[in-house]
């Protein structure tokens, strides 16, 4: 039962664990991107078709992987990148304003 779909759900939960237990702000941003990668893995393994190749339609190829989740995931990866970039800019300002990176002490 170890297939990409279940592993990505576990990856999702690992990221969730990271967000809940961590105090350091940068660690929270990192576990957020772990969750993002978990969801990307989930979508990619959604489209996987056993013993088939990448969706480039060359005359000799007939069994290809489902291309749609891969196209959706290109959009998704870029959005995760933008979220992480924005979060890190806000983290730099948080450190500058509050002096600490610990979310509990930011009063």
């Amino acid at each position: 039962m170890i297939n990409g779909l279940n592993i990505s759900i576990i990856l999702f939960l690992v990221g969730l664990y990271g967000i809940i237990t961590n105090k350091n702000v940068i660690r929270i941003v990192m576990s957020l991107s772990i969750i993002g990668n978990g969801v990307v893995l989930f979508f990619i393994s959604l489209g996987f078709v056993e013993d088939s190749v990448a969706p480039i339609i060359i005359p000799g190829v007939d069994n290809i992987v489902d291309p749609l989740p891969q196209a959706l995931m290109l959009t998704m990866i870029v959005i995760n990148l933008c979220l992480t970039a924005l979060a890190l800019t806000i983290v730099t300002w948080l450190y500058h304003e509050f002096g600490t990176l610990d979310i509990g002490e930011m009063k």
Partner: protein
């Protein structure tokens, strides 16, 4: 970060990464790849140089990069409206896939470099 070995290696590697990135963008719709991946590879080529030679020297390129961003979005919407001008719905493809690839490639390229330049402003002034 400024030892001679690293500088010579970047001078050697830089053109190859650049060419590989451009190849991925232009041949995106024929071989595995596309606008996004090619743009990232291009950005990595420039990033290599910016990291090794210090980011302060490259801060003056920021207005040009912002200009690329805005022109990229304007071109994308113009292509969309060209679909309407041709009488059919918005974003109808009139053989414009390579052009869109190049636009997205340039956007992701300038976006990543801008992100690095602005986030690196907060570095402690050690080098």
């Amino acid at each position: 970060m400024t030892s001679r070995i690293i500088k010579t290696i970047t001078r050697v590697l830089f053109p190859f990464i650049l060419m590989f990135g451009i190849y991925i963008i232009i041949y995106g719709h024929l071989s595995p790849g596309g606008g996004f991946q090619g743009g990232v590879i291009l950005a990595m080529a420039i990033m290599l140089v910016v990291v090794v030679y210090g980011h302060n020297r490259f801060q003056k390129f920021v207005p040009y990069l912002l200009f690329i961003e805005i022109v990229g979005v304007i071109l994308f919407i113009l292509i969309g409206i060209s679909g309407i001008a041709s009488g059919r719905q918005f974003l109808v493809n009139l053989g414009t896939i390579p052009l869109l690839n190049i636009i997205i490639g340039l956007k992701v390229f300038s976006g990543l470099i801008l992100m690095y330049l602005f986030l690196s402003r907060w570095e402690l002034k050690n080098d």
